[in-house]
């Protein structure tokens, strides 16, 4: 049996975060479908918000899992989340409008089997393992789908594999300038994988506070969204990309300020230090 090294004292229970994260991620993903209904790309930024929501949920799942000493470091949890998530997400994109739901179910199945494998075959025997790996595969798949929606404006296989390029006034179809064909998915993969594992890795310890970690996750999520929004200039109209970029920057500035406030609140003492002064005569 493993020893649980930290308990959640106070704060929001994990199941509430799970439910809120899942619902808001799916709602934000489906809000990007307004792109198709209104025939614009203005609603792509909801994909970025889905990323942030999924990451907040995922980082709390990592906290639940890594409270047990799994002995492999926190980053490995983020890696398996996205390793299993990307596989589910790529298949799910083929199901058109149902893609987010299919990604959810498929990732849950993959995560469940991986959880069984690690808990029973590999003999980890950690109570939270199966549920945590299931949740994290779902988080990985939905985060990547959110990035896909943010960058391309859609989440179906056709939209992710084809783009358009204009040569001397003519618009030609291209497959190189697309989310999958252009390798943008690899960038999205690591943007998400780093954002999901960093917050708990950075805030763990005796002074861990739930709200501070979740705020740091939101900050990392918006930071990733800024990069995603910049990449989206290549694939969607400039106006839509600017909206996504503005949302990301506003979100990042707000969460960064909040995070700094919480860090000062939780610190033993705070000293606004100045850079090392130049000493005269040297």
């Amino acid at each position: 049996m493993s020893v649980k090294v930290e308990v959640i004292e106070g704060g929001v229970p994990h199941n509430n975060i799970l439910a809120a994260g899942l619902v808001s991620t799916l709602v934000c993903l489906y809000l990007t479908y307004l792109n198709v209904l209104t025939n614009t790309e203005l609603f792509s930024f909801f994909g970025g918000l889905a990323v942030v929501a999924a990451l907040i949920w995922g980082s709390h799942t990592i906290k639940v899992l890594c409270s047990y000493g799994i002995g492999t470091g926190v980053p490995s949890a983020g890696m398996i989340a996205f390793g299993s998530g990307v596989i589910a997400m790529l298949l799910a994109t083929r199901f058109g409008m149902l893609a987010p739901i299919v990604a959810l179910v498929l990732a849950a199945v993959i995560g469940l089997i991986l959880g069984y494998v690690s808990n029973n075959i590999l003999n980890m025997k950690i109570p939270a393992m199966v549920q945590a790996l299931t949740e994290m595969a779902v988080v990985g798949a939905l985060t990547l789908m959110g990035f896909a929606a943010l960058i391309t404006g859609g989440f179906t296989f056709a939209e992710l594999t084809s783009g358009a390029i204009s040569v001397m006034g003519m618009t030609l179809p291209t497959y190189q300038q697309s989310f999958i064909g252009g390798g943008l998915i690899a960038v999205a993969f690591l943007l998400g994988a780093i954002a999901i594992q960093h917050p708990f890795n950075a805030t763990l310890g005796p002074g861990w506070k739930q709200d501070r970690m979740l705020m740091l996750t939101a900050e990392c999520g918006f930071l990733s969204m800024i990069v995603g929004a910049v990449m989206s200039f290549a694939l969607i109209s400039a106006g839509s990309a600017v909206i996504a970029l503005l949302v990301a920057i506003i979100g990042w500035v707000y969460t960064y300020q909040q995070y700094m406030e919480m860090s000062k609140r939780d610190a033993a003492a705070w000293l606004d230090a100045k850079p090392i002064p130049d000493v005269e005569g040297h």
Binding site: I110, V117, N123, M124, F189
Partner: protein, 289 residues
């Protein structure tokens, strides 16, 4: 209890029931692969009916190679960074991903020259990456931190026969990178790189054949998508296998002479299940809905 005192849970014991369930799961997943394999003929009429199944089997072999190879890599973690345990000072997932991706990039360059050449190239890429890493790590340990290489798990180095105890500092589990760990690292890199490349090549050939029919475009247009999708699946599979192996050896391992190395049968079954599952999903993407 503090975080320092908590020990990782997994012991060396095998769970025979779970192992049997794992083997059955692999067979079921391969069976599903056998059933769906002829369906890809819709998009690629020229290939043989078992083409997709062969790709799936290749993926499983590649995944098992990764899982097995990772056990050879000397992983030291945070204690190694402080010179208190032998090995390279980072986690299993990072090292396995580094070796495997280095091999994958090497093998991908040789993809045009056939399966054997590409897999061997990938293995050499991974082994080379690990050899360079092990050498530079030892440079830093010996000349930077001023510590000799000594294993804490064995009295004599199994390859060179050098005795270790005289060089081991008290209160540590050994430090540096003994010769056997170096050799283990290179073997691990070879197996991991070859496995990663095998997964990539199998999926690439599958997608090159089927995606043109599925997307109604030419095979030249499909190349970037086939390469990127196969690469992403290979990376995903690699990370899943590497992390599962990390769970198996719970943190640190010195190399092939470490007692934890005997846990490899568990990792073989676990990697086979995970690779069969993820490989099946990768095959399903080119099956008609």
């Amino acid at each position: 209890m503090s975080a320092v005192a908590a020990k990782p849970a997994a012991g060396g014991a095998m769970n025979p029931t779970a192992m049997a369930v794992g083997v059955v799961m692999v067979l079921i997943l391969l069976g599903i692969g056998y059933v769906v394999s002829p369906m890809v003929l819709t998009y690629a009429p020229t290939v043989s009916p078992t083409f997709a199944l062969m790709a799936l089997i290749g993926v499983v072999i590649g995944g098992v190679l990764i899982g097995f190879g990772t056990h050879f890599v000397p992983v030291g973690g945070a204690p190694a960074a402080m010179g208190q345990a032998p090995g390279i000072a980072t986690g299993v997932a990072m090292l396995a991903a580094g070796a495997g991706l280095a091999g994958l990039f090497g093998g991908a360059w040789a993809a045009e020259q056939g399966l054997v050449v590409a897999v061997v190239t990938g293995g050499i890429g991974g082994g080379l990456m690990m050899a360079i890493t092990c050498m530079m790590v030892n440079f830093v340990y010996v000349f930077g931190m001023g510590i000799p290489s000594a294993s804490g798990k064995v009295a004599n180095d199994p390859i060179t026969g050098d005795s270790q105890a005289e060089y081991k500092s008290q209160g540590t589990e050994g430090h540096g990178l003994p010769f056997v760990s170096f050799v283990g690292g290179v073997i691990g890199g070879l197996l991991g790189g070859a496995g990663g490349t095998l997964i990539y090549i199998e999926l690439l050939s599958l997608y090159e054949e089927t995606l043109p029919g599925m997307m109604q475009i030419t095979s030249a247009q499909v190349m970037p998508i086939a390469v990127s999708a196969a690469g992403m699946f290979a990376v995903g599979l690699f990370l899943v296998n590497a992390v599962l192996t990390a769970y198996n050896i719970t943190g640190t391992i010195e190399g092939p002479h470490d007692p934890k190395f005997k846990r490899w049968p568990r990792a073989i079954v676990a990697s086979a299940v995970a690779s069969a599952l993820c490989g099946l999903v990768a095959v399903l993407i080119v099956v008609p809905l």
